[in-house]
Assembly symmetry: C2
Homo-oligomer: 211 residues x 2
């Protein structure tokens, strides 16, 4: 009989005879990129073994089954993206410029590679949200967090006199997020980067007037 749950790391009191021979975060990032490029269903365990450099047993021992590993990779993505977003929104001298950069983010890539790859959270939402409650919950969580962050910057832009006082920060944030995700979608259809950039500029100009 198995006395320890090997799917949970180091939760027992025994000695640690052999430490991990791989960087957990590095593996998660590799796995995340694989799911990002191919999607969940189209990624086989063989793919995960290949990109991680680990064996099946090690993968299961360290992270649990495919579904848990995916959720872990998805969480890594949303945490990293959320961090970038927060930094982008807070570091800009003027909030209005930060909001413009937020809308333009999907095309902020020289070759448009990021635009074609899309957003892992959006990809996962479209593929799994209807059948996987965990993914749906993560999508809602990310959506709400992003809306709150953007709304905060909208308020700051109002304080700085770059946006009129009578607009609703949260409503504006939702509209900006919708516009950004619409651009992500158009990027996934293979629309060329120049046209995509022009469309992003149009949306930013209409949704964020200088008045």
């Amino acid at each position: 009989m198995r006395l320890v749950d090997r799917t949970v790391k180091n939760c027992y009191a025994g000695q640690m005879a052999r430490p991990r021979q791989f960087d957990e975060e590095q593996v998660i990032r590799a796995v995340r990129d694989q799911f990002w490029d191919a999607g969940y269903a189209a990624t086989s365990l063989e793919d995960l073994v290949r990109v991680s450099g680990l064996g099946k047993g090690s993968l299961y021992g360290a992270f649990g089954d495919k579904h848990r590993l995916f959720l872990r990779a998805l969480r890594e993505y949303t945490d990293t993206s959320g961090g970038y977003l927060r930094e982008m929104l807070t570091s800009a001298p003027r909030a209005l410029d930060a909001l413009r950069a937020f809308v333009m983010a999907p095309v902020n890539d020289p070759g448009g590679a990021a635009a074609r790859r899309g957003c892992l959270m959006a990809n996962s939402t479209y593929e799994l949200a209807t059948s996987d409650p965990d993914v749906l919950a993560e999508a809602r969580r990310t959506y709400e967090a992003t809306t709150a962050l953007v709304a905060e910057s909208v308020g700051r832009a109002q304080d700085e006199g770059d946006l009129p006082r009578d607009v609703d920060p949260v409503g504006t944030a939702r509209a900006l997020l919708a516009a950004q995700q619409g651009l992500v979608f158009m990027g996934r259809t293979g629309l060329d980067i120049d046209t995509l950039t022009a469309t992003a500029g149009t949306l930013a100009a209409k949704l964020l007037p200088d008045a």
Copy 2:
């Protein structure tokens, strides 16, 4: 040796001893709904047999393999949607109202069921566009056709004096399409229909000023 290609319907000169016992279009619509609800990978042949009411052999004999059947269902969807769109855009007395209805289309549903279901073409693009050239081609085709239709209405709204003359119809059409697809995405995250409707209204107001 098989002398006739049974995957192609009635392309031979022999007699027609037994006519089809099912309505081809009806089967395609049922299959389309299944793919719409569950996605491509998550739909098994067993599911297709169940919703179509046909046996595996009949399904393969009439439509070919799963991939061809999916493309057929996808084409049915884009044709039907394109027809609705064309009618919606041309039947409205004023083109500006039609454009507003276009942006609000994802939330034009009492319970928000359509919003949660999303758009089959968008779902398919996110799930398959990176790996399936046929789906990517269909996505581009649909995107370009939609852009052209909307741009035509933008031009008509200009002629009717509802939109300023100096805006680019095609660029505006792309921005409207991006906004609409952004709303579709937010619907897929499970956002409640009231908030979604408000966001749609905000986007329509910003992108389609009365000036």
